[in-house]
Amino acid sequence: MEQVYLTAAQANVAHARVEALVRDHQTKLARYVRRMVGDADVALDIVQDVFFAAYRTLQADPARPLTAGWLYKTATNTSISHLRRKKILRFLPLDRDADLRALRIDERSAASIDLQTAMHRLPLDQASAIMLTTYAGYSSNEAAAILGTSPDAVRQRVCRAMRTLRVVMAESA
């Protein structure tokens, strides 16, 4: 990796901005990634990678505007890369409680379990679309900018993901 040497002032700016990003977004971002990958430990790993990536980016250019959208985009891409590597494991349900591993005991409401079960069945593009919109709270336009697609495509993916979720809810009812 190319090493960038900063002045002390630039380093202070980068530190301060990363501090603010971590403080403001670590909880929401970790919950989001945990839903995506289905494992709390892996989610923390990925979130840390995301913040390190943010730090490296700010190190190279302290004045660069880094928003929450950038963090979610990086987290989504990192999660998708992780899930692609673990794809074989996802389709081998050796452990029946695999879906619940990501959740704490006091989070296991019916809605929470249904959502996590559906997330394991969804294709990656639909999973990221529904999580960015209904879970992270972005509009379809913002989610389209994050995912690099059109708003209508995001809405279509959300609709298809909802179909799967509806099936899961009907099965568990």
């Binding site: 501090e19 970790a30 919950r31 704490r104 409401s109 809605a111 959502l115 379809s140 809405r155």
Partner: protein, 352 residues
């Protein structure tokens, strides 16, 4: 409905789920699912879409996990990056050897950068001081049972009965008497001036009350409630036609009596609160086989109309006969669907 339209409908349903749909888009979606039963069954109505979307919001609000990035470096080193422990020893020695530059360059080790680590520690302290609300529930929490919704089906029956004339007035056909001109009577051509509407139905109910008429028509309505989970049975009386005439005409009636036509709307009808009156007409050939079902007045929900026609086409009929000779005929009937809750009054019978 072309496939292209249905593709567009997916985007509309997604917009409704995200709460971004405009009133025009909602109207377009409503119009589409009223005509396209596969889309209604696949995506559900607006209420169904919003219910599923609410599940995601409920799951998000139930989260209590407060991640602490401080512990990440330890767990990560022990699980995924164990070999970094050895590398970390070397890196630490280099750091101790002392270049200030090292402090500014982030190392990809299990030890976070001092700036990030400081924030993490500070955040962890805040988390420890924060009061934690304990919500210990092991079993999955199900929402409270909603009052079961039922579907009331009213079967409007057009009945043509003989007038209250003495039996002795019946014409006697003698060999040397020329029969009177035959009056053709059809069920579905009521005199307009006498038509009234039943209080609970859109179907005109018509009567001829003058005693001088050779026939009169009355209408009776039987009501049945369908529950969402129970097997559904519809009780009704079949159309009855008796014409006091010299020519013996018997209209087509369904075989099997009162429970012959029993529409079973899809479950989506319950969710959407579908209600309305489906008036239909079945064309029956001389063998009693239904050849075509026509919805003469739709209920507004294709799922109800489809259920009615499907039930009507599954029934065998006794064909229309004129003087004992079978001829093609028409059977007219109507079903009224009305949504209700179980705790409301007016349900005549709850089927278990």
């Amino acid at each position: 409905m072309t496939l292209q339209h249905c593709d567009r409908i997916e985007a509309l349903a997604g917009a409704i789920a995200l709460g971004e749909a405009t009133e025009e888009e909602r109207l377009a979606y409503r119009r589409h699912i009223a005509q396209c039963a596969p889309c209604l069954n696949t995506f559900g109505g607006e209420r169904e879409i919003e219910r599923v979307a609410r599940t995601v919001a409920d799951a998000r609000e139930s989260e209590v996990w407060e991640p602490q990035l401080k512990g990440v470096s330890t767990a990560r080193a022990s699980r995924r990056y164990r070999w970094w422990r050895f590398a970390a020893a070397g890196v630490t020695s280099l750091v101790l050897a002392g270049a200030a530059v090292h402090a500014l360059v982030p190392q990809r080790t299990s030890v976070p950068h001092p700036a990030v680590a400081r924030v993490m520690v500070a955040d962890a302290n805040v988390s420890r001081e924060r009061p934690v609300i304990e919500q210990r529930t092991v079993a999955p929490q199900r929402p409270a049972a909603q009052p079961q919704r039922g579907l009331i089906v009213q079967h409007n029956i057009v009945q043509l009965a003989p007038a209250a004339a003495p039996l002795s007035a019946a014409p006697v056909i003698a060999a040397n008497v020329t029969p009177a001109p035959i009056a053709e009577v059809t069920v579905h051509a009521p005199p307009r001036q006498n038509s009234v509407r039943h209080w609970s139905s859109n179907v005109p109910v018509w009567r001829r009350l003058r005693d001088t008429d050779t026939w009169r028509t009355v209408s009776t309505t039987t009501t049945t409630s369908l529950s969402q989970s129970a097997p559904q049975t519809v009780t009704h009386r079949a159309e009855l036609l008796q014409v006091f005439s010299q020519r013996q005409i018997r209209e087509a009636v369904p075989l099997g009596g009162e429970t012959a036509i029993s529409p079973h709307p899809a479950m989506i009808a319950y969710d959407e609160g579908a209600q309305g009156t489906s008036v239909f007409q079945v064309l029956i050939d001389e063998r009693g086989v239904p050849t075509k079902c026509i919805i003469t007045k739709g209920s507004g929900y294709s799922v109800l109309d489809v259920a009615v026609c499907k039930a009507a086409m599954q029934v065998r009929y006794s064909p229309k006969t004129v003087d004992g000779r079978a001829v093609p005929g028409v059977y007219n009937d109507a079903f009224t669907f009305r949504m209700t809750n179980n705790d409301l009054e007016g349900i005549p019978k709850q089927i278990q």
